[in-house]
């Protein structure tokens, strides 16, 4: 984005704005009433027993929270941009942790031994005998495996789909457009069921993992077909003409001239698809595949400690997508340098 060269006054440093902001924040804190939370306890030397403090207590708690909130904003506003970003990230992360903490979770449960594993581990010596260990060694591995294979297949499908959609061949265009229409039109969960239960009706017995991979790659191949098509179409006509004028054949033009140029255009949206697919791989848990989501549900359900395991799964997915985002940024930078 273009950053203007004229610096405007920070709106946070205008007294009028600060006043209105403080009043608004005060009103919000007052409306939500934090008196009976940890904040009220903390202020009990001033307001006495939070439960009996009434209007005065509620107002005091809101007032203190407002001072903290607005003061924090004001302090951050003086920092350099990178520091600002870092501080805000850390604070938001701690808020998220506080949100999770407020569930009153049994964190130790995540690290406890699990009996699914201890019975299974006799036969398969794969898993570590703790829930988190099982999530990582079995669940994370399966999720990455399924996603990686699906992404590879989806990319191949997308290249051929895009070429077919751009071709003058009626069959190719019809098949490709029918395919993208169908697989973009059905919910992924439905596709997973249809493949897993539908193919055996035709006489093809298909395991859970291959059908999960098939559903994911077909679905994301359809989305990526459109991305690749747009990427190919965005290359100026002059590139085709120059190649044709040199006597290049279609395949050579595509392979050596058009695709290399469309990669920088294709990478950002494709990265988004990869990230989305990684998370959507959780849907194959309905087939009983031992990936992260399935294990989270199974391990948590036994002792009704659902949230502990779901949060663990959430953290693993989040971490994975952060890694993918970093890889995507690196690829984007590489292609920016080259052209």
């Amino acid at each position: 984005m273009f950053v203007d060269t004229v610096i405007e006054d920070k709106v946070l440093h205008k007294p009028v704005f600060l006043l209105y902001l403080s009043l608004t924040v005060l009103a919000i804190f007052f409306a939500f009433n934090f008196t009976n939370t940890i904040f009220g306890e903390f202020l009990s030397p001033v307001i006495g027993n939070p439960e009996e403090s009434g209007f005065f207590g509620r107002l005091t708690v809101s007032f203190v929270l407002t001072i903290l909130f607005v003061g924090n904003l004001l302090l951050i506003s003086f920092a350099r941009l990178k520091i600002q970003i870092l501080i805000v990230w850390v604070e938001l992360f701690f808020l998220f942790l506080a949100f999770a903490y407020s569930f009153g979770l049994e964190i130790a449960y995540i690290f406890e031994n699990d009996f699914i594993c201890s019975t299974e581990s006799a036969r398969k010596k794969l898993c570590t005998p703790s829930k988190i260990g099982l999530m990582v060694s079995k669940g994370l591995f399966t999720t990455i495996y399924i996603s990686a294979v699906s992404i590879a297949i989806a990319t191949v499908i997308a290249i051929f789909g895009a070429i077919a959609k751009l071709s003058n061949n009626g069959f190719a265009y019809a098949i490709a457009s029918f395919y993208t229409s169908l697989f973009r039109g059905l919910p992924l969960l439905l596709q997973i069921y249809l493949i897993y239960m539908g193919l055996p009706q035709l006489g093809f017995m298909i395991d859970a993992i291959p059908s999960g991979i098939a559903a994911l790659s077909l679905c994301y191949g359809a989305y990526m077909t459109e991305i690749f098509r747009a990427g190919i179409q965005s290359i100026p006509k002059g590139q085709w003409e120059a190649s044709r004028a040199l006597g290049f054949k279609f395949r050579l033009i595509l392979q050596k001239i058009i695709l290399p140029q469309s990669i920088p255009i294709i990478v950002p949206p494709t990265g988004n698809q990869f990230i989305a697919m990684l998370k959507d791989s959780s849907l194959v848990s309905v087939l009983g595949i031992w990936e992260i989501m399935f294990l989270a549900k199974k391990l948590g359900a036994k002792d009704f400690n659902h949230l502990e395991m779901l949060l663990t799964a959430a953290m693993i997915y989040w971490g994975l997508t952060i890694v993918l985002e970093m890889i995507q940024a690196r690829i984007e930078r590489k292609y920016q340098q080259k052209t």
Partner: protein, 251 residues
């Protein structure tokens, strides 16, 4: 029998060529013989069909009626060997159309290496020699966007010449250039003309036309209105439309 004598020397011949875009007739009954080593300049107001005509010569555009023969082969919509014909016809575009992901040298090597089966070492030598000929060997390892417009167009000329074409087509090669870069491209073209290349140029550079052209063709509204030697064309134009055009462009 006179026909067969001219045909022997003729590289490009058009007979009764008509072309339409929908209802709009872009080319009207074009008849033209271009001999080997001839330098032709095509001029005319914008929309007169000159670019369309030159793009029909390597079939980047299709004509609907009449015959176009290039190096003895007829161009039509069911031909099998268009790619071989195109390898013999170099084309330089108004917008350069260099391959932005390849260096200047790689742009020049691409044709011989990928389609003519010339091995990499020889393709590189040939490319370097031609970059020297267009006077930018020192830019060989730069990418097109690092080059000025004039340099890009010269690389584009070298890229076409690497295919060792029999004919070179120029489609307004200097129209997209800053004024101070026009001459470096024109100089390259003049030198190319001296080397005996058959050239067909769509251009508004009348100085270049005077200096190089054997024949100037004036087009308007899809037809060839007048064709003549530069001397006759500039000093003694026959048609009113030619006179009007020359008045505008030379004043």
């Amino acid at each position: 029998m006179g026909d067969s004598i001219t045909n022997e020397n003729s590289v490009i011949s058009l007979k009764g060529v008509n072309k339409w875009y929908g209802n709009f007739q872009a080319l009207k009954d074009i008849n033209l013989e271009i001999n080997s080593k001839e330098k032709i300049v095509i001029c005319g107001p914008s929309g007169s069909g000159k670019s369309t005509l030159i793009r029909c010569l390597n079939r980047l555009e299709a004509h609907q009626e009449g015959q176009i023969h290039v190096t003895g082969i007829e161009l039509h919509n069911r031909m099998k060997d268009i790619d071989t014909v195109r390898q013999d016809i170099g084309m330089v575009f108004q917008s350069f159309n260099l391959f932005p992901h390849l260096t200047a040298l790689e742009n020049c090597m691409a044709g011989p290496n990928w389609v003519k089966g010339v091995d990499e070492k020889e393709a590189k030598e040939r490319a370097m020699a031609l970059l020297k000929q267009v006077k930018i060997p020192e830019q060989a390892d730069k990418y097109p966007e690092q080059l000025s417009g004039g340099q890009q167009q010269r690389v584009a000329i070298a890229r076409s010449l690497c295919m060792q074409p029999k004919v070179m087509l120029f489609d307004e090669p200097t129209s997209a250039l800053d004024p101070e870069m026009v001459s470096e491209v024109l100089d390259t073209m003049v030198e190319l003309a001296k080397s005996g290349m058959t050239m067909i140029c769509v251009t508004h550079e009348m100085g270049f036309a005077k200096q190089v052209a054997d024949r100037i063709i004036f087009m308007d509204e899809g037809e060839i209105v007048e064709q003549n030697t530069p001397e006759e064309f500039f000093n003694n134009p026959q048609n009113d439309r030619t006179k009007a055009f020359l008045n505008q462009i030379l004043s």
